[in-house]
């Protein structure tokens, strides 16, 4: 039981607990907080895997921007505890088993399909940000540009959606 493994299990436990509390909390703010916990835990895992940059971006963008947006909206709409309606029979009886089955399927499939992953020699080296940047701006430059367009469109869309139409 070496140190990284301990850290891993610790973070994994936090992540899973956060996810579960996301499910169980009844107030959106609390769900959001638990989601933030999950994200921070994941960032820790990324660090553990030596993906510094991704970890930082994870916290800056997800934690610092997206989730803030969520909380902001929750505060703006003053969303209260969600009401317990049960209009969807489908979700009522089939939801949980199916979801669990999906989880199991995924886990089994992934776990069994990773024997090839095992074969590859894994270097725990940290990924130098420069290399990531190189990939991002040379090999993946077109997708990158596309995402910038996507962002632009999203901004415009958000503005159009949020503005009250004038009488």
């Amino acid at each position: 039981m070496n140190a990284p493994l301990v850290v891993f299990f610790f973070l994994a436990a936090i992540a899973i607990l956060g996810a579960i509390s996301l499910i169980l909390q009844r107030h959106p703010i609390h769900s959001a907080l638990s989601l933030i916990v999950v994200m921070v835990a994941l960032a820790g895992l990324y660090l553990l895997m030596g993906a510094e940059f991704v970890a930082a971006v994870q916290i800056i963008v997800y934690g610092g921007a997206i989730m803030v947006l969520f909380i902001f909206v929750i505060m703006l709409l003053n969303a209260g505890v969600e009401e317990r309606t049960n209009m969807s029979k489908m979700a009522g009886w089939a939801g949980l088993p199916l979801a669990i089955a999906l989880m199991g399927f995924l886990a089994a499939a992934v776990a069994r399909s990773t024997d090839r992953v095992q074969a590859v020699a894994q270097s725990g080296a940290t990924a130098p940000t420069k290399v990531v940047a190189g990939l991002l701006f040379q090999e993946f430059v077109y997708p990158f540009e596309l995402t910038s367009f996507l962002i632009l469109v999203a901004i415009i869309g958000a503005i159009v959606l949020a503005q009250r139409e004038k009488q």
Binding site: A51, L96, V131, F140, L150, G157
Partner: protein
């Protein structure tokens, strides 16, 4: 050194939890969050693979996913505000005009 499939299984579990949240929460915002959770699980898988194969494409792709998530959040929250404004409710089960 942690075997890659630990991460993968973890991501699978997180994804499943995200699905559960999606199915069992009624609040649109929370459902949205569960989507983000699933995206995060996927990101974890990506990074795990990229580390397993010593290739950084996975990380780059994670960046793309994050960008997409940001865009999605912007638009989605705008839509949510509209829904609240028009239907005075955030409960998805009360937003069900799209049926027979």
């Amino acid at each position: 050194m942690i075997p890659a499939h630990y991460y993968l299984v973890l991501s699978a579990i997180l994804f499943g939890l995200g699905v559960v949240a999606f199915i069992f929460r009624r609040n649109i915002i929370t459902i949205f969050m569960s989507i983000e959770l699933m995206l995060n699980a996927v990101n974890l898988a990506f990074v795990a693979f990229s580390q397993a194969w010593n290739r950084l494409d996975g990380q780059v792709f994670v960046l793309f996913v994050i960008v997409v998530a940001a865009a999605e959040a912007a638009v989605g929250l705008g839509i949510i505000i509209l829904i609240q404004r028009n239907r005075q409710s955030l409960n998805v089960e009360r937003v069900d005009l799209l049926k027979l």
